[in-house]
């Protein structure tokens, strides 16, 4: 009897599109050329927007924000697998996914510009506002997934987060509850190998994030996060398992944060350029572009056109952003509760009177 194996597992890694732009046809997800072009367009738009946001931030027109350049393959790929009636419960490094969900660029600018109205993501987009406290929002995804299952909806929730978030207790509680209650949720980890200055190896001793699923009796899989086809494929399958079988999944999209953590960070303090450089070579947009060129879906003119259209959208958004009238101070009190409490009424009146006196 003595020492006998009880359970065995292995964790797989999925790759579809090679760095050179060649796909494994047996694994290529069913995407029409038009869809592939859209994917590319969204990724480019995300990149251009991210870049412009950075410039605005440096000019003092936006506050601190987290750049996503280099991670478009991961979060755009995953969000591309969502349907309108699915939910997205994001962290803060998923600009491309938010754009895909239909969030106007101007609203994102507004939010990162320090105006709460920017976080008023329209309900019907089924996309929660950015969650700043790391690791806390996955539980909301589990609750939403529970609600969808309970209501008999055939839809799922995708919640995204970084590998740093997996160290927070709430991640574990969310994973455990998702598996116990069998709710339609997909945990999507952008493992960009850094949590501010802390590298993956100091974050966890687990060789993969994907295998963390095993602690909860959940299915886990790793995917090349700079390979948008692999990410899309894995996300689509996981979402489908969630929608139809109420089976949660943990996806690890292994990528790299080529940028500083946020605009307040200086990554040179803690890592070398030699480490970063090879990852720049693995750029997900260029990789997809290479594939599209070999398939005749893109050429120089087309690429320039995509870029120009993206830039135009960004420019329009910036113009609209600059035209926004700042919120009034009375707004501070209006959304704490459905109805203002006597305290809030009093405090609002006090502030408005004080401002009137000063004028």
């Amino acid at each position: 009897m003595p020492i006998r194996p009880l359970v065995s597992y292995s964790i797989e890694r999925v790759e579809v599109l090679s760095p050179e732009g060649v796909v494994d046809d047996s694994l290529m997800p069913g995407l029409a050329p038009e869809q592939i072009s859209r994917l590319y367009e969204y990724m480019v738009l995300t990149r251009q927007f991210d870049d412009r946001m950075f410039k605005l931030q440096r000019q003092g027109r936006l506050g601190t924000f987290a750049r996503v350049a280099g991670q478009e393959g991961a979060h755009v790929g995953a969000a591309f697998a969502l349907r309108p009636d699915d939910w997205l419960v994001p962290a803060f490094r998923e600009t491309g996914a938010l754009i895909l969900r239909g969030l106007p660029l101007v609203q994102l600018l507004q939010y990162w510009g320090g105006d709460e109205r920017g976080a008023a993501f329209p309900q019907e987009l089924r996309t929660l506002p950015v969650a700043i406290p790391v690791g806390t929002h996955m539980l909301h995804a589990v609750g939403i997934a529970w609600a969808m299952k309970q209501a008999g909806e055939q839809a799922a929730v995708l919640t995204s987060f970084g590998e740093g978030a997996t160290s927070e207790g709430d991640f574990s509680e969310a994973m455990n509850m998702a598996a116990v209650f069998k709710v339609p949720v997909v945990f999507f980890c952008q493992n960009n190998q850094y949590a501010i200055s802390v590298p993956y190896t100091k974050q966890t001793a687990s060789p993969t994030v994907a295998q963390k699923a095993l602690a909860y009796g959940m299915f886990g899989v790793q995917v090349d996060g700079n390979d948008v086809f692999a990410v899309y494929r894995v996300a689509m399958e996981a979402l489908e398992r969630a929608r139809t079988g109420h089976e949660p999944t943990l996806i690890e999209a292994l990528t790299y944060r080529v940028m500083d953590h946020t605009t307040s960070d200086d990554a040179q303090r803690y890592r070398s350029e030699e480490e970063v450089e090879p990852w720049r070579q693995r750029d997900p947009i260029e990789r997809l572009g290479r594939y599209m060129r070999t398939k005749g879906l893109l050429d120089d003119v087309g690429a320039a056109d995509v870029l120009a259209r993206a830039d135009q959208k960004v420019a329009d958004a910036v113009a609209a952003f600059e035209a926004i009238v700042p919120p009034g101070p009375e707004e501070i009190f209006n959304h704490v509760f459905a109805e203002m409490t006597p305290q809030l009424v009093e405090q609002q009146a006090e502030l408005m009177a004080r401002l009137a006196r000063r004028r």
């Binding site: 008023a120 309900q123 539980l139 609750g143 207790g169 709430d170 509680e173 116990v180 509760f337 459905a338």
Partner: protein
């Protein structure tokens, strides 16, 4: 009408709210088959099924965090935290998300969530089972904090909390869970959140408490009346946040004296807020300083020393006499 204790009144309120609104669901540790460790959810899983009365894994942050998601998606979760001393792991979810999702999203997403939890000492319990930390919830913008003092209030306030569009921490005084029985209407009713109640009118001194200590005040008031020492006006705060300062201030303006009673540690307890409000709104009418009769700034002692910690009628009587003699 039947004579119910607080446990039964809450059980009934939950049952009726679940009956009325299919979006009302219950979740927490041992709330199902076991009916909760205090039997507050007794019979509910039998009546409404495991889909609506959910035994969760042992994870308080998880319970509240998941309930936030349920609430965002249109349900009205009533989460139970088994004892208030185990609510701390959920504090982050309450402060960082439940209380601010509405504000963050400018009303696009809201969290109509109730977190029920027994609190307070006097039950000869193990460590961490006697916590009375209402103040750390009352300080959080966007949370409502409600504490009933008897079965009638328990039923009506809980119904109101369940129907409220915003997150409510509903703290149940474990000590009097079964100690008070009273007539409670069979039909559903709500009591307004944000309104204190004058339990007993009096002219000499205003005594303010919530939860189990409203009873302490009654005892003290009776004794003082019997002794012909004072006519005490008793206010049951009911809702710590939003706090009904108007009722309290009106009373203090009338009596000119106030004694506030709570068992939470004195420093930075909710008594301080009430005292500060009286200072700001009625100091000219005071005939003696507002006094707090509170728990000490210590950990609540275990059973052997517990009785020394709790405010009791004796200490309230003393405090009231001292304000009268001032």
């Amino acid at each position: 009408m039947a004579r119910l204790n607080i446990v039964e009144a809450i059980d009934q309120a939950l049952s009726q709210e679940m009956q009325l609104d299919s979006k009302v669901i219950i979740l927490g540790e041992d709330v199902g088959r076991d009916g909760g460790v205090f039997r507050v959810t007794d019979g509910l899983v039998q009546r409404f099924g495991e889909e609506r009365v959910i035994d969760t894994p042992l994870a308080e942050s998880g319970i509240v965090g998941m309930a936030i998601g349920m609430a965002i998606a249109g349900y009205r979760p009533v989460a139970e935290i088994q004892f208030a001393g185990f609510a701390y792991p959920a504090y982050d979810q309450l402060v960082s998300h439940a209380s601010r999702m509405r504000n963050r999203s400018r009303g696009e997403f809201t969290v109509p969530l109730v977190v029920r939890t027994p609190y307070g000492g006097g039950i000869r319990a193990l460590e961490h089972h006697s916590e009375s930390m209402e103040a750390v919830f009352a300080h959080v913008p966007g949370l409502k904090v409600v504490i009933p003092a008897d079965p009638y209030e328990a039923k009506g306030l809980l119904a109101a909390a369940v129907r409220d569009p915003d997150p409510v921490i509903f703290m149940e005084p474990a000590r009097i869970y079964r100690a008070i029985k009273m007539e409670v209407p069979e039909e559903t009713y709500t009591l307004p959140l944000g309104k204190a109640r004058v339990v007993r009118e009096g002219k000499d001194v205003t005594a303010v408490a919530w939860g189990a200590h409203v009873r302490t005040l009654r005892d003290a008031a009776q004794r003082l009346e019997a002794e012909g020492e004072a006519d005490v006006e008793i206010i049951d705060v009911r809702t710590l946040s939003p706090f009904d300062f108007e009722t309290v201030v009106a009373s203090v303006k009338k009596t000119g004296r106030a004694v506030i009673v709570h068992e939470a540690p004195r420093s930075c307890g909710f008594g301080a807020e009430i005292s500060a409000q009286i200072m700001e709104r009625a100091v000219l009418q005071l005939r003696s300083p507002v006094i707090r009769v509170a728990g000490f700034d210590t950990v609540p002692p275990l059973a052997k020393l517990e009785d020394y910690y709790q405010p009791d009628a004796d200490s309230v009587v003393e405090a009231i006499k001292s304000t009268l003699k001032f």
